[in-house]
Symmetry: C2
Subunit: 120 residues, 2 copies
DNA sequence: CTCGACAGTAACCAAAGGTTACCGAGTACT
DNA sequence: AGTACTCGGTAACCTTTGGTTACTGTCGAG
């Protein structure tokens, strides 16, 4: 018996969605866009350490899945603006909770890690 | 100026923690362990599609970071049990929210994806 | 007539993840 | 005595994802 949305089943679409969220930069991009509209370079500067190629890939995926809107202005130099769709905005809250957890528990995690590395 | 826990800064430890959570199988393992104690094979069967090698890696990382406890019983055939630590349990709620989001919004995401693929 | 701005792309390289086969110790069966 | 089976992995190998560096096109400013 298969539940309607079982993220543990690799064939279930909700697992596909979860995999997408787990892609390396997806979360950061959604969090960075929060409720602003940002241009490509602004986004790249905001998110430390992301390569342009990968940022492009991530944004294209997010656009395809209806989480991000991409608006191109026919100007020179080119201007492209990214913003969250309504669907994308609905993801901010759960993702924000994870971010918050990370910022709250960094200390405990790093301490555990050092303890583990000592013991080796 | 660097905020104390800025997940956007690649040098900030909280970013390291966020990257760990974003690793492909971390979330699923934490959710699978929920509040049970599971053996290696049980975990592998519960989480569809995970290779034993990668499950081992993931579990070792989670153990190192103090999220998972690993107990080995000197029996034959061997028995190894995994469970969440207190810290690990504190991650269930934020992660559960993401899982819930995924299960709720699968439809919208898949619809957007089909629309995008049609338009090509 | 050359320079710079932006939003990428191209070519190449490194790292993470996946696949299949196999191991060792002891117990149960024949 | 020999064989089969259990579990929690590991070993060797391959593929996919992510990362780096350099480069492009277009147009306005100097």
């Amino acid at each position: 018996m298969v539940r309607k949305g079982d993220a543990f089943d690799p064939n279930c679409p909700s697992r596909v969605v979860l995999d997408r969220i787990a892609e390396k930069w997806t979360g950061l991009v959604v969090l960075a866009l929060n409720d602003e509209t940002l241009r490509f370079t602004q986004l790249r500067d905001r998110i430390g350490g992301v390569a342009p190629k990968v940022l492009t890939q991530t944004l294209r995926s997010l656009e395809r899945d209806g989480l991000v809107r991409r608006r191109v202005y026919a100007e020179v130099p080119p201007r492209v603006e990214y913003s969250l769709t309504r669907l994308g905005r609905s993801l901010r809250e759960p993702l924000g909770a994870v971010q918050h957890w990370a910022e709250q528990h960094v200390g405990a995690v790093m301490a555990a890690r050092e303890r583990a590395d000592q013991a080796s």
